[in-house]
Symmetry: C2
Subunit: 304 residues, 2 copies
């Protein structure tokens, strides 16, 4: 079974891109004529989910050439009920059809049989009456929250042997990181304790490109934090949100390079998928342009 980290590394190398396009379908930010079309087709949750699916699949298709990976955010689909969950599954399938690996941003975390049920929901594998297993969302990797501790992450990392990946929240890009993550624990910021946990969990899952299948989420808004996380995690992919709309910048990524594939994926959602709002162009074309600009802006991370 090919390692998730190798799939991701090879996508980065092939595209010469560390761009991760976040898929956060928000009807209020989509072209009104697109949403109006679905309103005419009947409205309701089904229409909302179909609209989210169409929007995301068109964006995926348009950015496929320049994005290394895509990151659908589960909440934006879950808000539309069962049809929303079906739309999320369809968006994952659409990304796979375009050769894009999928990091499902779900930030789950629970222990024991519950943790394993979350892993089955996101990766697949639930046993069904009469035999066979459920497909789940068929994500390639997921984001996971470490608050419950090590035994809330192992239900996900156990799937690394089947080609899956996990990105553990470490130092996020929001002001609330000050509430816990940046607080001093054993004489240093707490997120470094999490980074060490990530290293321990990922040590047994190293791919041919030298990267682990267990990575870390660390935000572009805190450059010192990023460097400190990299120092503890030389072999981890770091998923960096906060580029674009949240105010992170490429300068904050200097020094993060860890190998041929850079060891970093940089995520932007709103600034790419809703780029049409500034340019007035067709939304998928505008998203492709924004993703291309972002790739070029970040190519230095690959060449540093």
């Amino acid at each position: 079974m090919k390692h998730f980290s190798d799939v991701l590394a090879e996508s980065i190398i092939a595209k010469r891109s560390v761009v991760c396009v976040g898929l956060d379908p928000d009807l209020a930010q989509m072209p009104p004529e697109l949403v109006a079309g679905f309103a005419r087709s009947g409205g309701g949750e089904e229409a909302a989910a179909a609209c989210a699916e169409e929007f995301c699949c068109h964006v995926v298709s348009a950015v496929a050439e320049v994005a290394a990976v895509v990151k659908p955010q589960a909440a934006f689909f879950e808000q539309f009920g069962p049809p929303g969950w079906a739309a999320l599954r369809a968006v994952v399938r659409c990304a796979h059809e375009h050769g894009l690996p999928v990091i499902l941003d779900a930030k789950r975390g629970d222990i024991s049989s519950t943790g394993r049920a979350y892993a089955r929901a996101l990766f697949g594998g639930a046993e069904l009456p009469g035999g066979g297993v459920a497909d789940g969302l068929a994500a390639d990797a997921v984001t996971a929250s470490p608050y419950l501790g090590e035994d809330s992450l192992t239900p996900f990392t156990e799937h690394c042997a089947q080609g899956k990946g996990v990105f553990v929240l470490t130092r996020t890009s929001n002001p609330g990181a000050a509430t816990l993550q940046e607080r001093e624990l054993d004489g240093r910021p707490m997120y470094l304790t999490v980074a060490e946990l990530v290293r321990r969990l990922g040590g047994g899952y190293i791919g041919e490109h030298g990267y682990s299948d267990v990575g870390a989420v660390a935000g572009a808004t805190a450059p010192e934090a990023l460097s400190a996380v990299r120092a503890i995690l030389p072999r981890a992919f770091i998923l960096v949100p906060g580029y674009g709309a949240q105010g992170g910048s490429v300068r904050n990524l200097a020094g993060l390079r860890a190998g041929e594939a850079a060891g970093v994926v940089v995520s932007a959602s709103r600034s790419v998928i809703y780029a049409w709002r500034d340019s007035g162009r067709e939304y998928a074309a505008a998203a492709a342009d924004a993703a291309r600009t972002m790739r070029d802006d970040l190519v230095g991370v690959l060449e540093a």
Copy 2:
């Protein structure tokens, strides 16, 4: 709008019970003849979800007389895809039909527009094309993870003004609590910093019974931790998992009482809903007996 905390307090008083029945539908622990019936009806995700729904609704109906509240665990439904999400919604509806408030155990947490989307998914309120809003899962309260910080909890607590409740993970009942929660932060265990955050977030949402709509999750496996959390949170409902299958005991709950309604709900899942496995009786009747035994075992918490 009635406070969630008042709904919960009145349910506890009416039932003379602090029992929360956790609904974790696991086909492998259900009566084989029940699962086989759904296998014959076609199998697949639909059959799995229908089986989970029927099992949970029968249990809800049987325990309604002695349980104060029920707590469906999202992962066990999500593993069955869109039909699983629909089954979860049906189980919430079934609980409401039996007059039971619902704490949805989802352990979500994210910031900004994403956090608000999670809140809409669990509580309802997503705007739909053509007007109207989605029902969401219509939960009365949710569990939330604090790792991302204060701004990942406010998207949930903002719903308290509309009669909703939030239980913030504080000191959980698993061994992994040692990874972060019990570590020393500013000279005391980190979970107490979270408890203070819960107090701050809940201060503006106090119901007529004197309890806040923002509560804390603290496990029965750590009695000192429970007492320390209560000392910081005199007006919070504490949701105590780990009773029963996880090894907690009623002795650990001594001293937690905070008022007429005790201020505590104690959760058990497997030891109640799969009680048929030990007794060999019909599963819903066995669950009702186990819930009644648990209520009687815990009645001291109300009378202390």
